[in-house]
């Protein structure tokens, strides 16, 4: 019986540590998916949340201002202004009309993104690339 206790305790310790690490990890890195409409409806409450929003890049909305890149995302008639201030250069696929995913935070109705993923609006199986791409392969 003694042995069972020992094994049980050790296992509980290991699993407990890992669960603790996992919960901490989830709290720290959770990113909430939101639609553009939901973002517009959000007031100040979600300021600290890490958010991810997707939409089409409005034609002729991209403007560059030093390191900053400004553009507008459109999703079902809802629009939001995005400022990209990340470190990585934007992906090759980032252009007018492309589908883009932006990660960042909402401040005063403008979305401040630090990571952009973009996908060609091609009708074929074009896989997207990212600002920090992890690539496309066939598995």
């Amino acid at each position: 019986m003694n042995n069972y206790w020992k094994f049980g305790l050790l296992m509980a310790a290991i699993v407990g540590t890992l669960a603790w690490l996992a919960i901490g990890g989830i709290v720290q890195t959770s990113t909430y998916y939101k639609t553009v409409k939901e973002l517009n409806a959000m007031s100040d409450q979600g300021k600290e949340m890490r958010l991810r929003v997707g939409g089409d890049i409005a034609p002729n909305s991209i403007s560059r201002d030093g390191r900053l890149v400004r553009f507008t995302l459109v999703q079902d008639d809802a629009r939001i202004n995005v400022v990209y201030d990340g470190i990585d250069p934007l992906p090759d696929t980032f252009k007018d009309g492309a589908l883009a995913l932006a990660d960042g935070k909402l401040q005063n109705g403008t979305f401040h993104a630090n990571k952009i993923q973009a996908k060609c609006a091609s009708k074929y199986e074009q896989k997207p690339t990212t600002a920090k791409p992890v690539g496309a392969h066939t598995t």
């Binding site: 990113t31 993923q117 496309a136």
Partner: protein
């Protein structure tokens, strides 16, 4: 042409169904000829699928753009080798590859065991063919590789195709998908054997050895596939990383983890008759995770940069998984008496318990990866909010797990079976521990202060010393007995017990990979906009841009920027990163240039032109120790091949010893 291909797939489907039903009916009605004909059907299926695949490849190479698949994955300008790899460049083709690889494996299994395991084979065949039937349903009725977009008579010229995604036009991509598929698909075979042994209540350990060998072979392919993917990400994607915890990467890692756990815990079953239920669970989990991984990449349920276009085939996978898992669970539960353990755990300090913890931790890591990958799906179901977790989540859990596993890698081989005492542990671990502490202290003095890196290097030294001690001790004994050189004695030692010493070599390879992973803690990078003749600094390197060159060929236009590099004032040559624009796909792509050295890689990426078009955007990185990951892989491969080589001395385990009258007639095999 395409009609023959479609017909071949349809026929293969019929044959697979026949093979499943035939072998089961033959078994139940005791008709050996029916069983035999079901096995022959396996050969026919292989021939049919080879024909279908051959036609698809022929169409790709000759550029038959009437076919939808060819038009969207190939074009005229691509080099022939990439026209060939377009076979698995898209959904339909890669499913065909899946089916073809599975039929090839099945053929080998049926041929190898044509005189062995006669009572089990009908079930093995039916599990293999049942799985194949599922994939043939997909390619025969849902995702057809031979769809024609231009039908009708008199079409002479069919224009040009879309071409293969430029990211996939790279040499590792030629072998990465087939390797990964050989890994994924190969795990069907151990599963088939496990199920058959359950159904027939197979006595003895013969079948588990067959299963172990198959698992080892497929594990080798899976490892190769995963690392080729990592190498490709490193060399092609231009951000310098090799692993990003992307859902599809995770999907390939999950069955690898459970297979690794199985390869360890199966020793407990072979030597002690323990953990039988557990091994069944691991073999089944590996199989279902393979199917699940395929499902994850095809259905688009999680957002991934790898994922294929969303398609309807996800439902089919869910159905197959549901049926398969419930069947397996039922089978295991109904055979619990057959899977009873023959021994008890006696002590916390024992080899058994180290295996147990190894398995626990591997499974925990598998679960963590699965949880993180599916988190968006789970959270949406539970809270209505779609939440994703990022790479830091995975790193936070997996790094401590990996370190704990490293510790067990060192501890396991030295600790005694059944029970061990603190005294003997002290004796065995004094030198390895001293070595580890010495290296960590030395590094700390020379200015390494990253705590994870220090622990990692300490554990690496610890494992290295334990493995070295094992080799020297064994070789020393042989040398005293037979004479000869130390190297010769080590080769003889390895040959005597290939499984054990091959296993040590695999562990050494993993240690080398760890050294490479740890290098991550010391990465440096910078992004600059440079005009010709401007220079910038990165760590100890000074980099100066040369004159921009440009040109064009059939496939793409290119720009190159030579970068003259010098280190500590010494010139070390010129790196020429390239920026391409693929014409057919209208997609830009960067070709990085890497100066690979054992201590660190210098990595330069030409990311594009600045907004005003006057300056080039250059990303430069220094990645210490990355090369050791690839070196470690070769050691793992070498070790695995050693494991698969038969030993010179056949191992006789105590539990298979036969004594008394029966001894004369008994034959004990490895």
């Amino acid at each position: 042409m395409e009609n023959i291909g479609s017909l071949a797939i349809l026929l293969a489907f019929c044959f697979a169904v026949y093979s499943v039903l035939g072998s089961l009916a033959g078994k139940w009605a005791r008709r050996p000829f029916l069983i035999l004909s079901a096995e022959r059907a396996v050969y026919c299926i292989w021939a049919l699928l080879t024909t279908a695949a051959g036609i698809l490849v022929y169409s790709l190479i000759t550029g038959d753009f009437r076919l939808a698949y060819v038009a969207s994955h190939s074009n005229r300008a691509m080099p022939a080798v990439y026209k060939f790899t377009s076979w698995w460049g898209g959904q339909e083709g890669s499913l065909l590859l899946w089916a073809w690889v599975l039929s090839s494996y099945s053929m080998v299994v049926v041929y190898q065991n044509r005189r062995k395991f006669r009572d089990m084979m009908p079930y093995v065949t039916s599990v293999l063919m049942g799985t194949l039937t599922f994939f043939l349903i997909l390619i025969a009725f849902v995702a057809k590789p031979f769809n024609v977009i231009m039908a009708g008579k008199g079409i002479v010229d069919a224009g040009d195709g879309q071409g293969l995604n430029p990211l996939l036009q790279y040499w590792t991509m030629v072998i990465h998908p087939p390797m990964l598929y050989m890994g994924y698909v190969g795990f069907v075979v151990p599963f088939a054997f496990a199920m058959a042994s359950l159904i027939t209540r197979q006595p003895g350990e013969e079948w588990i050895r067959t299963t172990r060998r198959w698992t080892l072979v497929t594990w080798m392919f899976q490892t190769t596939g995963v690392l080729l993917g990592a190498g490709w990400a490193y060399a092609v994607l231009g951000w310098g990383g090799y692993w990003a915890w992307d859902p599809v990467e995770n999907a390939s890692l999950l069955p690898w983890i459970t297979a690794t756990a199985f390869l360890h815990s199966v020793m407990m079953q072979e030597k002690k008759g323990m953990m039988k239920v557990w091994n069944m669970v691991l073999v089944s989990a590996t199989f279902f995770l393979c199917i699940f991984g395929t499902f994850l990449t095809r259905s688009g349920i999680v957002q991934s940069v790898h994922a294929f276009a969303q398609s309807s085939i996800g439902t089919y996978f869910v159905g197959f998984l549901a049926i398969g898992i419930s069947g397996t669970v039922f089978l295991i539960l109904s055979r619990l008496d057959f899977l009873k353990s023959e021994a008890q755990l006696e002590s916390v300090l024992s080899r058994e318990s180290s295996f147990l913890f190894n398995n626990l931790v591997l499974l925990a890591s598998c679960f963590a990866v699965l949880w993180g990958t599916l988190f968006p799906v789970i959270s949406e179901k539970l809270t209505g909010e779609k939440i994703s977790v990022d790479a830091p989540f995975f790193n936070r859990i997996e790094v401590p797990i990996a370190m704990f596993l490293m510790l067990l890698t060192g501890v396991g081989p030295l600790i005694a079976w059944r029970r061990s005492s603190f005294e003997s542990l002290k004796r065995s671990f004094m030198w390895p521990l001293a070595g580890g502490a010495f290296v960590a202290a030395g590094l700390a003095i020379f200015g390494v202060h990253n705590i994870y890196a220090l622990i990692s290097f300490m554990l690496c030294t610890f494992v290295t010393v334990t493995v070295a001690i094992e080799f020297f001790k064994g070789a020393g004994a042989i040398q005293t007995k037979d004479g000869g050189s130390l190297i010769g004695a080590m080769v003889a030692l390895t040959h005597r017990n290939t499984r054990r010493y091959g296993g040590y070599l695999v562990h050494m390879g993993v240690v080398l990979m760890f050294v490479g992973f740890t290098g991550n803690a010391f990465n440096q990078n910078t992004t600059v906009e440079v005009a010709p003749d401007e220079s910038f600094q990165l760590g100890r390197y000074e980099l100066r841009a040369g004159a921009l060159e440009s040109g064009q060929n059939d496939n793409y236009t290119w720009r190159r920027l030579p970068i003259h590099a010098s280190k500590d004032g010494q010139s070390i040559g010129t790196l020429v990163p390239e920026n391409r624009l693929y014409i057919a796909e209208r997609q830009p792509m960067s070709e990085v240039e890497i100066r690979r050295r054992l201590n660190e890689d210098l990595y330069v990426n030409f990311a594009g032109m600045s907004a005003d078009g006057q300056k080039a955007v250059i990303q430069a990185y220094v990645f210490p120790l990355v090369s050791w990951i690839w070196i470690g892989y070769w050691v793992v491969l070498f070790g695995t091949i050693i494991c698969l080589t038969p030993s010179k001395t056949r191992l006789i385990f105590p539990r298979t010893e036969v004594v008394g009258m029966a001894e004369k007639h008994a034959r004990v095999e490895d």
